[in-house]
Symmetry: C2
Subunit: 297 residues, 2 copies
C-alpha cells in the first residue's frame, strides 16, 4: 500500500505538476487530505476575513498512474472514506446561491460521531464524500476550485465510498489528485460550503485502454451518471443531456429521435452544486438501461 | 362523489373562468383528463405538423372549492391516478432541452400494462403523475402550458398518488384545474414530452385558513418540496433556495446565516423540468427537519 500524506498538496490540475508518487494499477493507495480551508478555521470566531484564500480547495497529489496514456480512461475505485471527528461549515458574504443577500461571515464547528453530524440540536446523517477529484487536463492549468471534463471540484454528494469514477486521461500517468472531503452535503451545496473536514481516502486504480468518457462518469450501485459542468445550470443541463442522448443512441443502436424520447423517461437530471465557478449537474441513467461501454467513446 | 368529465377543459388558469362544478372540502372528486395533446395523436405516423396546438396542455375544471378565500391554502390530496393503457411520447423539432439540434418530428405509441410502460423492448416502471395542477392567479390569465406560484404545468415526477399539494388561493373558490397525466417521466422531461396519457384522478380538498405557501408545496412520504418556477434553472434555484432558507429560519428561530449553512446540508435542489416556458426545480427538505406550518407564511 502507498500512503500519500496531506502535505503533498496542489491547488490546480496541471500537466506541469511533478508527481509525488508512482502507483501501479491494482495497488491500494491511502490518500490523506486536509479540509478545504487548509485547516485554517479552528474556532467559530475565526476571522474569515483574514483567511489565506490561496490555501483553500487543495487536493492531495498528483499521483502518476503507471501505464495511463492519453486517450485512456482512469478508473478510480473509492474503497473507503474516513473523516476526522470535527468539521466546519462556513457562510462567506458574496458567496453561495444567495450571494446577493447582505449577511455576515459565519463559521460553525460540527462534531461527527457514530455516523452523524451534530449541528447544535440538529442531527444530520454523515455520508462522507470527495469534493475534489480529477486528473490533469491536456494543457493549461485548472484551479482546484472549479470543475470540467478533467473532474476537479465536482462537489457531488454521490462520490462516496463504494462508488467508481471514470476520468478521461489527457497526459501520461494521468496525474490524479483528490481532496476536499465533506462529512455531509445536500444537492446544491447552497451556502458554498458543506461540512469541510480532514480525513483519508482508500483508493484503487485501473485503466480502460483507448476509450474515454466525454465527461467524468460516476458509477453507483444503481446508476451511471455523467458529471457535467457548465457556465450555468441550464448550460450544464444541455451538455449533460447531449452526452446522455448520444450514449442511449449507442446503447440502443437507434436514431437521435428515439434516444431523445427515451431520455425523457430514463435520464434524471440532478444537481451537484450551484455555487462553484462552473455549475454542475449529473445525468443519471439506471444501470439496467445501459452498459458502461456505451457511455465511453 | 362528484365526477367531472374531460370535456370540461380549460387552457389557462384565470379568475374569469366559470366554475364547472362546486365542491365541498372533504368530498371525493373524480376528475377525468384527456392527454396533453388533446387526444389528437392516434398513430405513430400522425402528422405532428398538422396538430392543433391550441388544443394541447388542457386541464379539466375549474372547480369552485366552497369556503376557499384569497389568503388561504388549498390542500389537494391526490388519492389515486388511473391511466388508460395507451400513451404517446413525442419529439417536436425546435423543442426540448436539445431544441437547437436538427431532428425530425416523431411519435411513439407506448403500451401500459401491469405497472410498466413498454417502449419497444424497453420496460419502464409506470408511476403516473399529474403534469398540470393549479388554481387561478389573482388577475390575468396564465397559460396551462406554463407554471408559477399558482401551480400550472409543473411537470414534477413526484406529483403522484399518495401525495398532497398545497396551493395559495388567490380568488374566492380557488378555481382549481388539473390534467396532463404522464404514465412515466424522468426529472427534466428532456425531449419536451413524457408518456402523455388520458386517465382520471381521485382528489379530496381541504383548506388552511389565512396562511399561504410562497410557492406550491408538495408533501410526499419523506419530504416537503417547494415547487418553484423561473426564467432559467439558475433563476428558479435562487428563488427556491430563498424560500427554503426563510422556512428554516422560521423552523429553527435562527439567523439567516445559520439557516443558510443548514440549507447546504438539508435542502436538496432537484429538477422538475427544463423544457417548459418557465423552468422548474424543487427545494426538498426532509419532513423530520421541518413542520408544515414553517413552510407557510
Amino acid at each position: 500500500m502507498k500512503i500519500v500524506t496531506k502535505d503533498k498538496v496542489v491547488y490546480s490540475f496541471s500537466p506541469r505538476h511533478k508527481p509525488v508518487e508512482h502507483v501501479e494499477p491494482g495497488e491500494l493507495v491511502l490518500l490523506e487530505a486536509e479540509d478545504a480551508v487548509g485547516g485554517q478555521v479552528k474556532s467559530e470566531d475565526a476571522a474569515l476575513e483574514s483567511l489565506d484564500w490561496s490555501r483553500v480547495d487543495g487536493a492531495t497529489g498528483p499521483l502518476y498512474i503507471e501505464g495511463a496514456e492519453k486517450g485512456d480512461t482512469l478508473v478510480t475505485e473509492i474503497l473507503d472514506i474516513k473523516t476526522e471527528s470535527r468539521g466546519v461549515i462556513l457562510a462567506v458574504p458574496g458567496n453561495g446561491v444567495l450571494k446577493d443577500k447582505p449577511f455576515k461571515a459565519a463559521a460553525k464547528i460540527v462534531k461527527i460521531e457514530d455516523g452523524f453530524a451534530y449541528y447544535d440540536d440538529i442531527r444530520v446523517r454523515s455520508i462522507p464524500l470527495i469534493g475534489t477529484i480529477g486528473v490533469a487536463p491536456a494543457e493549461g492549468e485548472q484551479s482546484s476550485s472549479t470543475s470540467g471534463k478533467h473532474g476537479g471540484n465536482i462537489d457531488c454528494k454521490e462520490i462516496t465510498s463504494g462508488t467508481r469514477l471514470y476520468l478521461p486521461v489527457s497526459v501520461d500517468g494521468a496525474l490524479f489528485s483528490a481532496g476536499d472531503l465533506h462529512a455531509a452535503q445536500a444537492d446544491g451545496e447552497l451556502c458554498v460550503s458543506a461540512i469541510e473536514i480532514p480525513g483519508s481516502i482508500m483508493l484503487r486504480f485501473s485503466l480502460i485502454k483507448k476509450k474515454q468518457p466525454p465527461w467524468p462518469i460516476l458509477e453507483t450501485k444503481d446508476h451511471y451518471s455523467y458529471l457535467v459542468a457548465g457556465d450555468s445550470l441550464d448550460d450544464a443541463t444541455v451538455k449533460a443531456s447531449e452526452a446522455a442522448v448520444e450514449a442511449l443512441m449507442r446503447a440502443r443502436q437507434c436514431s437521435f429521435e428515439k434516444a431523445y424520447m427515451l431520455s425523457s423517461l430514463l435520464v434524471d437530471i440532478k444537481v451537484n452544486q450551484v455555487v462553484d465557478p462552473q455549475r454542475g449537474v449529473r445525468a443519471s441513467i439506471p444501470r439496467g438501461e445501459i452498459l458502461l461501454r456505451d457511455l465511453l467513446v
